[in-house]
C-alpha cells in the first residue's frame, strides 16, 4: 500500500509525514541504478576520452618513444611543427582535399537525391540501392580497387574518358591529380549523404507545394523557395559531418599513394601516423593531433555560426 502510493506519486496530504522517507530511498535507489547503468560509458569516457585528452595535452610538452622515458621539451614541439616543411605541406594537402571533397560530396549527393525524388523516375528503390552501395564498402577494398581504375594506361577511368575524346591525366601517379583522385573516390561514396537528403526531401509537406502552385509558382520558384529552405537543415548536417570526416582522410592516401608522389597526398593524419607509429615521436605527434583537432573545431564552429544565415528551421525555431 505504501509502495503503491509513492509509485503513483499522488500523496494524500495526511500521509505526507510518513511517505517521504520511503520516496527518498526509492529515488536514491533509482539514481544508484541509473549510475550503475551508465557506468560503462562513464568509465569509458573518463579513461578513453577525458583522461586520454588530458594525457595527450600533457604529452605536447614532452618527447617520448614510450620505451625510454619522457623528456621534457617545453614548447619545442610547437616550434618544431611551425618550421616543419612537411607538416606545412600536409596541412596544404589536407585543406586542398577538404576543399575538393566536401563540396563535391555534398553537391553530388544532393543532385542524386533530387533526381531520385523526382516523381517521374521509375524504380527509385533500385537506383537508390545502387547509389548507396559504394558508401558501405571498406576503405581498404575501395583503395585496392581504385588503384587499378586510376591506372593511367589501362585503367577504366581513362578508358571511359577516352571514349568521349578526353585524354585522362595520370591520376594518383601525378602530383597535380593525386588529391583530386582521392576526392573522386570520396564522391563515389556520396550514397549515405544522399540517403539523408532523400529522407529530408520526403519530410517536406506536399501541402506547401500545392499551396505554392495555387498561388501560381512555377517549378523553379517552388524549388528555390520551398525545397531549398526546407532541406537546408539536412544540408547543414551533411556539411558538418562530411567536413569533420574529410579532415581525417587517411586510408586512401596510405594505401594507394603512400603519401606520394613527392608528398602530394601527405595528409595530416598520414603524417601524424608516420611521426607517431613509424618514427615514435609521440610528443610531436600529439602536437599535430591537437593542431588538427583545433582546426576541425574551428571549421565546425564557422559552419555552425554561418548556419544562422542560411539554415531555415521551421516555425522560426533555431537550434
Amino acid at each position: 500500500m505504501q509502495n503503491q502510493t509513492s509509485v503513483s506519486g499522488m500523496d494524500v496530504s495526511g500521509r505526507r509525514s510518513r511517505v517521504p522517507a520511503v520516496r527518498l530511498s526509492r529515488r536514491g535507489r533509482r539514481e544508484l541504478t541509473a549510475y550503475l547503468l551508465i557506468s560503462p560509458w562513464l568509465i569509458g569516457f573518463l579513461i578513453f576520452t577525458a583522461g586520454a585528452m588530458l594525457f595527450s595535452l600533457g604529452l605536447t610538452v614532452f618527447e617520448t618513444d614510450f620505451l625510454t622515458g619522457f623528456r621534457f621539451v617545453g614548447t619545442q614541439n610547437f616550434a618544431r611543427m611551425i618550421e616543419d616543411r612537411l607538416f606545412v605541406k600536409s596541412l596544404g594537402v589536407t585543406f586542398y582535399y577538404v576543399a575538393l571533397a566536401v563540396p563535391s560530396q555534398v553537391l553530388i549527393a544532393l543532385a542524386i537525391a533530387l533526381l531520385l525524388n523526382n516523381s517521374k523516375v521509375a524504380f527509385t528503390g533500385v537506383w537508390r540501392t545502387l547509389y548507396f552501395l559504394p558508401s558501405i564498402v571498406s576503405g581498404i577494398a575501395v583503395s585496392l580497387l581504385w588503384i587499378w581504375i586510376f591506372n593511367p594506361d589501362s585503367g577504366l577511368l581513362n578508358y571511359g574518358l577516352g571514349l568521349i575524346g578526353i585524354k585522362g591525366p595520370r591520376w594518383i601517379y601525378s602530383e597535380q591529380w593525386a588529391v583530386p583522385s582521392l576526392a573522386i573516390i570520396s564522391a563515389w561514396g556520396a550514397g549515405s549523404n544522399m540517403l539523408l537528403y532523400l529522407a529530408g526531401l520526403q519530410g517536406i509537406p506536399t501541402s506547401l507545394y500545392e499551396a505554392a502552385s495555387i498561388d501560381g509558382a512555377n517549378s523553379l520558384t517552388r524549388f528555390v523557395h520551398i525545397t531549398i529552405p526546407m532541406l537546408s537543415p539536412t544540408v547543414f548536417f551533411n556539411l558538418v559531418m562530411t567536413l569533420i570526416g574529410a579532415f581525417q582522410v587517411f586510408t586512401g592516401a596510405y594505401v594507394m599513394t603512400g603519401g606520394g608522389p613527392n608528398n602530394a597526398t601527405l595528409t595530416v593524419v598520414l603524417y601524424l601516423y608516420r611521426k607517431a607509429f613509424s618514427q615514435l615521436y609521440f610528443g610531436y605527434a600529439s602536437v599535430i593531433a591537437w593542431t588538427l583537432f583545433i582546426i576541425i573545431v574551428a571549421f565546425t564552429m564557422v559552419v555552425i555560426r554561418s548556419s544562422d544565415a542560411w539554415v531555415y528551421y521551421e516555425g522560426g525555431l533555431r537550434k
Binding site: 533509482r30 551508465i38 578513453f48 586520454a52 531520385l116 533500385v126 558501405i136 576503405g139 578508358y159 601524424l272
Partner: protein
Amino acid sequence: MAALDTVSEEFHTQRKAGVLRALPHVFWTVMAALGSVLFMVPFVWMISTSVKPRWEQLVIPPKWIPSTFVWSNYVEPFQTHPFGAWYMNTLILVSCNVLGVLVSSSLVAYAFARIDFRGRNVLFLILLSTMMLPGQVTLIPVFYLFTKIGWVDSLKPLIVPSFFGSAFYIFLLRQFFMTIHPEMDDAAEIDGCSLFGIFWRIVLPIAKPALGVVAIYEFTYSWNDFFGPLIYVNSPNKFPVALGLRFFQTRFDPQLGPTMAMTFISIIPILITFYVAQRGFVQGIVISGVKG
C-alpha cells in the same frame, strides 16, 4: 465510316499525348539509371577482373567477359596466405564488437531515456559532444595505455573498448527508447517489476529494430576498420581481413586477378548484410541525421 475515322483519329491523338506525357518519365528514369551505372561500373570491373586470365586483365578496351574463367584466383590466395585465419580473426572481432556495443549502449541509453537522475542533462550533453570528437587526439594516449598493459599485438584493444558503449549508438538507442510510452514502464513497476526487469522484458523487445540498426552499423564499421588493426596488430597471423588484404596486395608483385578476387570476397558479407537489412541502414541514417 466518317465516324469511325474520327474515333480512330481521336484515339491516335490520345495515344500521341500519352507517349508525350511518358517522355519525361523515360528521360528521368534513364538519367537515374545512367548515373547508377557509373556508380556500379567499378564493382562490375572488379568482379570481371577477378576471374580473368592474366593476359586479359589490363587490355584496352576492357574485356568484360573473360574468354576463360580463372576460378583459381579465388582458391590460390587461401593456400598461399592465411586468409582462413584472417577471416576467423575478423569474425571474432566483429562478433565481440557487436555484442559489446549492444549490451553496453542499450543499458546506458535506457538510463538516459528513462531514469531521471541528477546530472543527466549535463552528462548527455557531454556524450553528444564526444560524438563529433576526432579520434586523433585520444589515439596516442589510448595506444600508450594498451602498450602498458601489454595488449598490443592482440585483438583486445580493438574489442574491449566496445564494451564501454559508443556515443553514437547510445544516442541512437536513446532516441528510440524515448518513443516508447512510459505508461508501460509505470504499469510494470506497479506490478513489482524492477528497473532491469522493465528494461529486459518491455523496452528491449520493443526496441528490436533499433538494436538491429546498431548491430548492422557496428558490423559494417568493425568489418571495415583498417586504422585500428593497422596500429594495434603486428603479427600477420593475428590480422583481420582488412589488414590482411593490404599485406596480400603489397607483399609480392601485384597479382591483379587474385587481389580483385580477395577484395570482392571481403565485401560480400557487407553486401549480404545490406541486402538483408536494407531498411535498417536507411532507418539508422534517418534517426541519426534528421532527428539530430
